[in-house]
Symmetry: C2
């Protein structure tokens, strides 16, 4: 349809990052902002900012900069964060429970509509947010019924692949995988990995390098 000249993935990531300072600066009433300032706040190159935005249109005014409100609006439109999304979490361990209750989600329009666990001991337990933990065996039906679009997997690794299939069975379109294994998809489905231990190992590697000098 559009000039779909393949947007680089890093660009999408950065758009999300750009929106953070913009939100803050909008609050504080700053009307206009340059690519240079924004780049400074986000730790990237100013040309990068401009090029990233240029993939989607012209949002700035030459000689002036970007209108903070408009730009934020535009980015939210691009990322599709200007509407609510229904999600569910599978795996009510410490991480899963922490995430469910985290205020950050609701604030950004991510609505946790269901929570699952395969442990019969946990099923039926009521969470602070009002949800009741359901059995993992009912994932497909429930997810379909509630029109859930995104699934978070915080189970132990060995359950992740099975859970992913159940989610897809229920027509979930995107999965955020917190486990250490890579999930394979049958249907068309967006998979994003958020394996924290990868982050850790990255950190530790670089820390070690630092010490070596």
């Amino acid at each position: 349809m559009s000039k779909d000249s393949k947007i680089p993935n890093p660009t999408i990531q950065r758009l999300a990052i750009y929106s953070r300072p913009l939100e803050i600066l909008l609050e504080s009433g700053l009307p206009v902002m340059s690519s240079e300032k924004l780049a400074g706040l986000c730790g990237v190159n100013p040309a990068q900012v401009r090029k990233d935005l240029a993939y989607f249109g012209e949002f700035g005014i030459r000689g002036v900069g970007y209108d903070v409100r408009d730009l934020l609006q535009a980015i939210k439109g691009i990322l599709a964060t200007d509407r609510e999304w229904a999600l569910c979490i599978v795996g009510m361990g410490h991480l899963g429970s922490g995430l469910v209750q985290s205020e950050n989600f609701k604030k950004r329009g991510y609505m946790v509509k269901a929570a699952f666990d395969s442990d019969a001991g946990k099923v039926g337990r009521k969470l602070a947010c009002g949800l009741t933990i359901q059995s993992a065996s009912g994932i497909s039906q429930t997810v379909r019924k509630l029109g859930i679009e995104i699934g978070l997997i915080t189970t132990p690794p060995h359950e992740a692949q099975r859970v992913a299939h159940l989610l897809q069975e229920g027509n979930v379109g995107a999965i955020l995988n917190f486990t250490t294994i890579q999930i394979r998809t049958r249907k068309k489905c967006v998979i994003e990995n958020a394996d924290l231990s990868v982050k850790f190992e990255n950190l530790v590697y670089h820390l070690e390098q630092l010490d070596k000098v």
Copy 2:
């Protein structure tokens, strides 16, 4: 010292990813594994696997493959995950609390040695893991005293930069930042961002694209 021919960052990330299936396969007793199989499990190209490893030496045997145990050992050595690391968490909200208690850390040798919060109401509270929440004002001293090397920041965004400085003050060498803002460093310090909302927005963008077709 070594032929420090600048290792690509993606390579480090992937090494961590490679190690996951290796751990599992080691358990299950498989002695040898090819780059092709490993690549399949990790969703990457076999040549990529070989090239990634080649940055650090020759770990395989031509015509045969890689010894699972040796390779895993080698990767752990490279990533420096073959020893324990002392860390602390600042910000005992839902996410922070969930992380502290997560078993995955301890299992991988990350020892949570201290937990901080700036909310006086939370200070003094005892956590399930045995730690007592301490006041954020004591971060620098405590961190230095306990020899903590890595700091996790799970505070609200506006506290993150200040906390980062306190951590660096206490000689922390690496910070894992879960907040939405970018942290700037004074001293030499490894910063890794784990802003989950970026992951979400990525997901949502791609989901939207999918729907458009």
